[in-house]
């Protein structure tokens, strides 16, 4: 899958080489140098298995050179952007990490690919992931697990499911990256890889061309090495798209803008920071707890008001998530029957004494099969009332809890538009209860243990809220992330507060 990389590109055809092109223009080749550095990194960190497919290096560099030569198209002009492999590209295969789609190339580009290109971005490649986004460690991929080497030399989890994108950013294999976040799939890898990961409010970034995992929770998220890069990425993608039926309309976007008071974020003194006491669980690692406390103290030191907040339904959020997401998976993955695209097994699939499509669908990975079965069960007539319906109710309670906690009303429910002076502007909590575990130890884990890693990220997903994970403090290689969660549509406030945290920690 990985291309052969020619380090010595300048020895190519002298006339056509990007270097010669640039020399002739007499410009300083910063973008090209940056791109070359990234290609070197891709080669050097190949063993981490961050990419599933990448474009031809010559073509890629020529593209960068062209951007460098021309006036900048946008803030991402000539920058290498890695894209998670569950986002459709017509230039590279889109596998979703699945054996069934291992030879699939989409006939169309996702909206966000068009948006990136319009901002001048160059697609650096398609990054590895858990099959269809299902996993917390990026180990459930047909193309092998993604890994990282910790400071102490151990091979540890990169988080999932957008692990490839996070690793690519962390190791300089690209400028920034796009991932998807359904229950924490951007924030968890961001925390484990010490980069910034942002999940926007549900419906802000188009999902057209994003292969569905759990469509009522799926969002497109972004990774950057710092807050500035990450915000630029988000701004480039944040737009209404008529092709995505859940894309927030211009009308609601306008309402959200009027709802947001930007000075809250700039002015730390008037900031009310919520501390969800229910997140202080027994399983919380000491180092993580310390990072949390440090962050809160620093903000308080700048004059912010800390407010303890009760989010009682949070303890049920994880269970609800693992009922709802598999239910949607069982539906969204029903199309992979081997009839239209992708792979099917040889020979007849569905005779009078076998189940139709069972052979082809049997080639899905173990985790995908597990969740499909879970979902099919929780939607069955016999179990639906106990699982699916209950989980929907819990989801509503989680949303209500958040709406009660925030100072601003939720712009999606204009009928409940009473602001709550006692409420908070943002919630701050850890992204994950522990630093990244060693991959070796994960092998013995029960699937449910892996699910508990998502305990802090899932609530914001259920409520569709914007949430950002960032490394804090001096030690930015400990794999610990702090999460900033805002009211629905308050995405920029989340970035503003994150900047204040960066300044003071």
């Amino acid at each position: 899958m990985l291309r052969k990389f020619r380090i010595d590109i300048s020895h190519g055809s002298e006339r056509n080489s990007p270097h010669s092109m640039l020399r002739s223009l007499g410009q300083k080749a910063t973008l090209l140098q940056e791109a070359e550095k990234a290609l070197v990194a891709q080669s050097a960190f190949k063993s981490l298995n961050a990419f599933i497919s990448v474009p031809n290096a010559d073509i890629l560099l020529r593209e960068v050179a062209e951007h460098e030569a021309a006036p900048a198209k946008g803030p991402l002009s000539g920058k290498l952007i890695a894209v998670k492999d569950n986002i459709c590209t017509s230039s590279l295969p889109t596998t979703a990490g699945s054996r069934l789609l291992r030879h699939f190339t989409s006939p169309y580009d996702a909206t966000i690919i068009e948006k990136l290109r319009a901002s001048g971005a160059v697609i650096a490649g398609k990054t590895n992931l858990d099959e269809f986004g299902m996993g917390s460690h990026s180990t459930h991929s047909h193309f092998g697990p993604v890994s990282q080497v910790s400071a102490s030399g151990q091979i540890t989890s990169v988080g999932g499911s957008s692990g490839g994108s996070a690793v690519a950013v962390a190791t300089g294999q690209c400028h920034a990256a796009v991932g998807t976040d359904t229950g924490g799939s951007v924030r968890l890898p961001a925390a484990y890889n010490n980069v910034v990961g942002f999940k926007p409010s549900y419906g802000l970034v188009s999902r057209w061309g994003v292969i569905a995992y759990a469509n009522s929770l799926d969002t497109v998220g972004v990774f950057g090495r710092n807050l500035g890069d990450t915000r630029i990425m988000f701004d480039a993608l944040n737009a209404f798209d008529a092709r995505d039926p859940t894309s927030l309309s211009e009308h609601i976007r306008a309402r959200m803008r009027s709802n947001v008071c930007m000075e809250n974020g700039k002015d730390v003194v008037s900031l009310r920071v919520g501390v969800p006491t229910d997140y202080n669980i027994d399983e919380l690692d000491t180092a993580v707890k310390n990072a949390w406390i440090t962050t809160l103290q620093a903000l308080q030191g700048q004059g912010a008001t800390l407010v303890p907040v009760e989010l009682q339904t949070t303890r049920h959020a994880l269970s609800a998530y693992y009922v709802l997401a598999p239910a949607e998976v069982s539906s969204n993955l029903a199309k992979y029957d081997g009839v239209r695209y992708g792979e099917r097994t040889s020979g007849p699939d569905g005779t009078s004494d076998s189940v139709l499509f069972a052979k082809t669908r049997g080639e899905l990975g173990a985790e995908a099969k597990r969740r499909i079965l879970l979902g099919a069960y929780s939607l069955s007539a016999e179990a639906k009332d106990n699982y699916f319906i209950q989980a929907q109710k819990v989801r509503k309670l989680v949303q209500d809890d958040f709406n009660k906690a925030f100072r601003k009303p939720n712009p999606l429910y204009p009928e409940h538009r009473t602001s709550n002076a006692e409420g908070v502007d943002v919630l701050i909590c850890p992204t994950a209860p522990t630093p990244p575990p060693e991959l070796e130890r994960l092998r013995d884990q029960q699937p449910v243990d892996a699910y508990t890693n998502d305990v802090f990220t899932v609530p914001a997903s259920l409520a569709g809220l914007p949430a950002l994970s960032m490394p804090v403090g001096g030690n930015k290689s400990n794999g610990i992330g702090i999460q900033v969660i805002g009211q629905f549509g308050d995405d920029h406030l989340v970035f503003d507060v994150a900047e204040r945290i960066e300044e003071c920690t």
């Binding site: 986002i87 989409s106 996702a110 008529a242 859940t246 949607e328 199309k335 139709l356 939607l379 069955s380």
Partner: protein, 841 residues
Amino acid sequence: MDSQHRRIELQTPSDLTYLEEYAKRVARDKIDLNFPPAAAVGEDAMRKKVEELVGQYLSRTFAEARKNMSINGMPVPSADAVAGEAYEPFDTTQADRIRDLEARKDALQKTVALERRNGAASAARNFEKAYTAHVDAEDMQWLMAKNAVMERAEKEAILGVNAPKREQEYVETYRKAREDLEGLNKGLGGTVGKLERAVGSRRSLDKAQASTYGFARPPHGSQPHIQPPTANHQEDPVPAMVRTAPTGAASILISSHAPWVCQACFRRLQLRPQAAPKSFQLSTRLRSLHTELRVDDAVPYRKLLKDQKNKKKSKGVKGSSNGKGSQLTDWELTVGIEIHAELNTARKLFSSALTSTNETPNTHVALFDAAFPGSQPQFQKDTLIPAIRAALALNCDIQKRSTFDRKHYFYQDQPNGYQITQYYEPFAKRGHITLYPHDGIAEQDYPSITIGIAQVQMEQDTAKTLAQPPHTHLIDLNRVSHPLIEIISLPQIHHAQTAAAFVRKVQALLRAVNAATRGMEQGGLRADVNVSVRKNSAGPGALAYAGIAGLSQRTEIKNLSSLRAVEDAVTAERDRQVGVLEAGGMIEGETRGWTIGQTSTTRLRGKEGEVDYRYMPDADIMPVIIGKDFVAHLRETLPKLPDEVLDMLVREPYGVTVKDAKTLLALDDGERLDYYFDVVHILQETLESEAAGVKGKVGKMAANWVLHELGGLLAASTTEWVHNSVPAGKVATIIAYLLRRKVTGKVAKQLLSTVFYEPEREVEDVVREEDLLLRPMNDEEYEALAQDVITKNEDVSVEVRETGHQGKLMFLVGQLIKHGEEGRVEADRAKLVLQKLLLKG
């Protein structure tokens, strides 16, 4: 297990036969190639064995495949039930006989042709004039009969003498002419009979010979095996007719036995070959499997149903509905119906791809229709318009908010692995329709019955699957996501006949409001029925559905694709359930199937085999909010419903009789009604400047012509209704001629027949070329003619002059018409002039 899967859908049994035969032919060709028959001396043992094995393989393959096929939604009967043609060894004597008979047949054909061209045609011409006079005479017959009676009564009372001699003479002439005419007809019939016998024997021999080749009938497109060596068959229409449509031709020839010979009949005979393919097109239009069609093999599905109906009728209506009459009096039948109807929309339900019915496969498919990864549904708001219209026609409450859900099951015709439907919150609820006797309800439901509609929901259609045996299924995604509505009735129907009437009425309503265009016969509508029975004396049952309590265990019969199937399946299932219960058994909740022509439903799957559809709200589709103003607008602009149209038709300016109005509404899925309105509309424009007396006749006259005159022609030619068999403009032109007194009634009928059989001719041209225009005589001409008649009928004239006897006067009118030039004497003007001469003068 396999019953859970959708079946390979074929359109007619002949598709299956074709496939089988095709496979056999290919196999034979292959064998011939590898074991050339010429190369073998005597019997080739190897070839025989191979043939045997291949034969076994083929029959096994098709036997297996049958289980997974359905024809028009019905299970395929086993191979034994449709046993193929028997193979016979080649027989030289038979072949020789074929040749002999062929020659004899050709000779006979020539004789017939000659006779028809010279003998019959001239004879007909000669007789026509005489006959025409008698037709006019027939018009007068009732007058004369009346006269005769009155006269006799008068005479007997006053003079005591018999009817006048002249009248007897007249009657005698008429009788003789009629006999002559019938004699001619019989003579022709005899010749025709000979030809028929020849054709019949040829056909049976053809069959015998063909089966020696292994095929019962030659495939369409290829010429028959034996070409008649007729030199002049190009000019001679009869052999051509025999070649293309033997059965049709035979029935036409037989129909000439009827005591009616006119030019139109001859035209019809000549033109039949052109008319015939039309009716075949009708049946082939519905076929989606593009196999070569053998014309003589394709029994139209409609005809099948019609035949079945006729068979039933001849057996007596009671046989079908009250077979267990005495036993049934204590049992109450309860039926609920689900109807799926294809909405008439430009675009699909969840993509901007256009809807289509017969386009090139997979050309109307958006990314979402093919379920491409990453694609999402785009609800097409415009599809709401026909859906809401349908719901309004069914008197439903349109819901402000409705949502879409996913219904999951695996099948290759369903790209997403689920169907998007409205399970939890449908867009329309609580409707009803009322059925009247004219809707065809059971007598027990007279004078009317109201049936509740539980809900109406929108949903997607699936892809079309075309089987390419043995292992290939071709999938056409054009139909994926075509918008459908599902209409769910309450279980308030208690008679099979009313069940069929309900489906018929829903179909008519959907068509009337333009919500659906393709009816049941075109596959645009299908019904599932839920049937239960309950013993009246046993009290209410324990089950309930949609708020209707007291029901007993029901079964569901799926995929009924004709009204007849609905009625018969309900009857059969009722009888089966009663039988089971009376035998002390229990009814199981199960899904059953029905095949046309069967006497009982068959079990498809029980409860344990039911698919759990795992309904789930579709989070990608926002709830649909329908505004009150939008519904109000649609309600205001809703086209007239059939019952309203009926009401309108019987009032001015139409003034159609209730009987004719019902017929207009019922015929040809409403096409005849549209046609009628077209005719009336054109007439109203044409006759705008005419007197009110003329215009007032338009509605009634048009109904008479559209139903009876045109209907008569259709029936006589055994052709199905085609919207343009005679364009509305032509009928309107003819009626206008008549109303403006430019032609006589007889000529008008003749005109219609002409343009029916010779569609390329215009009415005006026919009138001009055949000089049919009424040339009204002036008063002097009338007087001269009248004087002549008065002189010739002195006795009567004197009597009229003396007594003013009306009957006698009308007799003279008849004489005047008879003596006048053909098509020139108008009865009322003749009467006026006679009155003037005899009574006032």
